[in-house]
């Protein structure tokens, strides 16, 4: 029954594969379409890390990892097709890198018992493991991002944002709307004034939004953008001479390709992040030796060390470590999606473990638990230096405002649970 179209229509092409089962990691990537600029480095990083693990360590616990790449073009319909065509291959975890596709996959993966890891995107309230048993969004989610930006601004302004005006330029989609609720709460708590300015897909047209910013002169501008929208926004900000150091993006609005096109004018632009940036990690030596020099790098191989490449690599690293944890828990190297889920839930990522992997201080230290699938929500801030064309981390990974975020997560996940008749777990 579960025969794929391939096998049905065109014969057993895949039959030549190895007898020993692989650990299958699908990569729902997008190397085409309006969001490809962000999709390519992430997909390359994700693929290269699995190649590295296979080449250097001989796989995960002795079993090779197999990456199946499927092009979604950031389109939900193609995302469904990709999900259905890969899930039969024994997919261990899905990371679709699209909030729209995530919303679609949350119920589907729950029904099929496959874990879903939406690192820094997707449905924020999935952090509540009591309701979302198989969805994980560690180490940080959108609301951590929103709170992280506000915390940073608080620090910069001596702990007081009263009477300040803060504008939010956001992608008019589920993704961009996610932080608004948290920001409204934070605005009430800290007494700043929030203006939300939606930008429609794909985001090339932002003249009116920036005109409004020019007129209202907000003290700070936040951005929840993706794809071409980021470049346009930074260019527009430069055009109205908005001070770049007062312009902060979420982690999806803070990569090299977002700022490069604005040239020197983008100098000082900031973005929050949940992982470190740059190439200054021992893991990149291995990457060079086993993957790049061996000619096995994914894509064009020109993205190594970029912000989003690091993020894709970080996502793959967390998946590999979760698989190792699952192998330890269940005492078998050949894990199933259900075992992988247990591994993700028991994942511990202390500093020592990251250092051992050649990625010291690459991300925050965190533990996942049955109740908390979102991690502690530690968020840092990076800044762009147009001179040297590099991002650098300007703050440590710092705690976000759990007092505001936790009740919101509880409320939103409770409404999901009641809509779908979900009994809370972890009791």
């Amino acid at each position: 029954m579960n025969m794929k179209l391939t096998t049905l229509a065109l014969g057993a092409v895949m039959a030549a594969g190895p007898v020993m089962a692989d650990l299958v990691f699908p990569s729902l990537s997008y190397r085409t379409g309006p969001y490809a600029a962000g999709g390519i480095p992430f997909a390359d990083g994700y693929a290269d890390y699995f190649t590295l693990v296979n080449e250097r360590d001989g796989g995960i616990g002795g079993v090779k990892a197999r990456l199946i790449e499927c092009e979604t073009g950031y389109n939900t319909e193609k995302g469904v097709e990709c999900y259905e065509s890969t899930k039969g291959e024994g997919a261990l975890v899905y990371q679709p890198l699209s909030t729209g596709i995530t919303y679609q996959l949350i119920p589907k993966t729950a029904a099929d018992g496959i874990p879903l890891h939406t690192m820094g995107y997707g449905r924020t309230s999935a952090a509540n493991g009591k309701v979302f048993g198989n969805v994980f969004n560690y180490p940080a989610n959108y609301w951590d991002g929103a709170s992280g930006i506000i915390n940073y601004l608080l620090d910069e302004n001596g702990g007081d944002l009263k009477g300040k005006k803060i504008a939010l330029v956001y992608h008019n989609s589920a993704y961009g709307k996610e932080p608004i609720r948290t920001l409204e709460e934070l605005a009430a708590k800290h007494g700043f004034e929030l203006t939300a300015l939606p930008v429609d897909h794909p985001g090339q047209e932002q003249k009116s939004q920036w005109l409004q910013i020019r007129r209202e002169r907000p003290d700070f501008v936040m951005m929840w953008g993706w794809g071409v929208m980021n470049q346009v926004a930074i260019q527009e900000a430069a055009n109205i001479r908005f001070p770049m150091e007062n312009f902060i993006g979420v982690w999806w609005s803070g990569a090299e390709h977002d700022v490069l096109s604005a040239g020197a004018a983008a100098d000082g632009y900031k973005a929050v992040t949940f992982h470190n940036v740059g190439r200054d990690f021992p893991v990149f030596d291995d990457m060079q030796k086993y993957v790049v020099d061996a000619g096995k790098a994914a894509g064009a191989g020109d993205q190594i060390g970029n912000v989003l490449y690091n993020r894709g690599m970080y996502a793959a690293m967390l998946a590999v470590e979760a698989a190792k944890t699952a192998q330890e828990i269940h005492g078998t190297a050949d894990i199933t999606p259900a075992m992988m889920r247990d591994g993700m839930e028991a994942l511990e990522m202390p500093e020592a473990r990251m250092s051992a992997l050649g990625m010291p201080y690459f991300g925050p230290s965190f533990n996942v638990s049955c109740e908390n699938h979102g991690g502690p929500g530690l968020v840092g801030v990076t800044q762009w230096d147009a001179e040297s064309k590099t991002w650098s981390l300007v703050t440590d990974f710092q705690q976000t405002d759990g007092d505001v975020i936790k009740p919101l997560i509880e409320a939103d996940s409770a409404s999901y649970a009641s809509e779908n008749n979900i009994e809370p777990r972890c009791n």
């Binding site: 179209l5 190397r31 939900t76 319909e77 259905e84 449905r123 809509e419």
Partner: protein, 358 residues
């Protein structure tokens, strides 16, 4: 040889005016129905349902709806995506407000609501024509998407602005949500498609359809011979809206399950359905099916051949898809401007004479 009228005697007007006057055609049609209803449900799996058959069935309904408006009544519409969104959001509001009511009722009502909205946006068609009407319907597209993004009531005040289909059943069989079996969702859509196609076929060859075609061919002449343009145009908008609404409701509730209006029902959707109608053949029910099949299946086939068989990188295949689909569309329109339906018609004519053409 076997495909001809010889020996197939018609002894009544009913027989003479049936949809498939040639016996071979008729049996082929029964066979297709038989396979669709009695064979596929037993062999279907998740991949075939969600990736191929559901989109094909749903886009076919949308294409039939648009074909009535564009192909039969000659009113160019670029608002299909917006109207599908109306169907989807109507279905969502009904599903969440009346959970105990059967999905059949919800989908039909969603179609009805879309028909009303469609008539509303069709009113300008009485004064404006051709390209100008296209622009007016384009406005409908953007306005509707904007409304569904803007007014939180439509998405039940959810934080993300997305709508998610809750689990609903028909006669105790779950047909929406992730636990719905593939055969149930498939059959549900197939039943709607069959009903829509039969209704459309019978409407288009009756009085109403003739008045639509009269308006399409020359509206002044039609008015002179007694066709009421108000009635003809608005019925075309209503029927078209009804079908498109049904397809939108199914698209959201059964196929995607979670929808974000700008992404799922944007202007690209309008163009996609319009391409289906144009490639399939304007003014042909069969053309709607052919167009939908062409645009749904071709990308999947190209992907399977490129990625799974040839092992090419996914991005190269995705770019090739655009090139090949685009080239084929141009090629088809050059070789046969009346679409796949006309190719089929010509093939049938040839078959009737084969193997002894004069």
């Amino acid at each position: 040889m076997f495909y001809r009228e010889a020996g197939d005697f018609k002894v009544s007007y009913e027989q003479d005016s049936q949809t498939f006057p040639i016996k071979f055609d008729r049996y082929r049609y029964y066979l297709v129905l038989l396979i669709a209803f009695l064979v596929i449900p037993f062999t279907i799996n998740d991949y075939w349902a969600s990736a191929i058959l559901l989109p094909f069935l749903i886009y076919s309904i949308a294409a039939i709806g648009l074909n009535i408006l564009v192909g039969y009544a000659g009113q160019v519409s670029l608002g299909t995506g917006g109207f599908m969104a109306v169907g989807a959001y109507a279905c969502y509001k009904l599903m969440t407000a009346f959970p105990e009511v059967s999905m059949f009722v919800h989908v039909m009502l969603a179609g009805g609501i879309t028909a009303l909205v469609c008539v509303l946006f069709g009113l300008p068609s009485l004064r404006i024509k051709g390209f100008y009407l296209a622009v007016a319907t384009l406005a409908a597209q953007f306005f509707l998407v904007w409304v569904f993004n803007r007014v939180p009531w439509f998405y039940n005040y959810s934080a993300s602005g997305q709508i998610n289909a809750p689990e609903r059943d028909v006669f105790g069989i779950v047909i929406t949500g992730p636990n719905a079996p593939a055969w149930a969702t498939y059959l549900f859509c197939l039943i709607f498609l069959t009903i829509c196609a039969v209704i459309a076929r019978n409407l288009t060859r009756g009085t109403v359809g003739r008045s639509w075609m009269a308006i399409r061919d020359m509206d002044i002449a039609a008015e002179i011979i007694g066709v009421n343009p108000l009635k003809a145009k608005l019925t075309a908008f209503a029927v078209s809206g009804f079908f498109i609404g049904i397809s939108g409701a199914l698209f959201f509730a059964l196929y995607l399950g979670a929808v974000e209006v700008g992404e799922a029902f944007g202007i690209t959707k309008s163009f996609q359905v319009l391409f289906m109608v144009i490639i399939g053949g304007l003014g042909s029910i069969f053309g709607s099916f052919a167009g939908a099949a062409f645009l749904v299946l071709l990308p999947v086939i190209l992907k399977v051949v490129g990625v799974d068989v040839l092992g090419w990188p996914t991005d190269i295949v995705a770019h090739f898809q655009l090139v090949i689909v685009g080239a084929l569309i141009v090629l088809f329109l050059i070789v046969e401007p009346h679409g796949l339906a006309q190719l089929w018609r010509v093939a049938k004519e040839k078959l009737r004479l084969w193997p002894f053409p004069h």
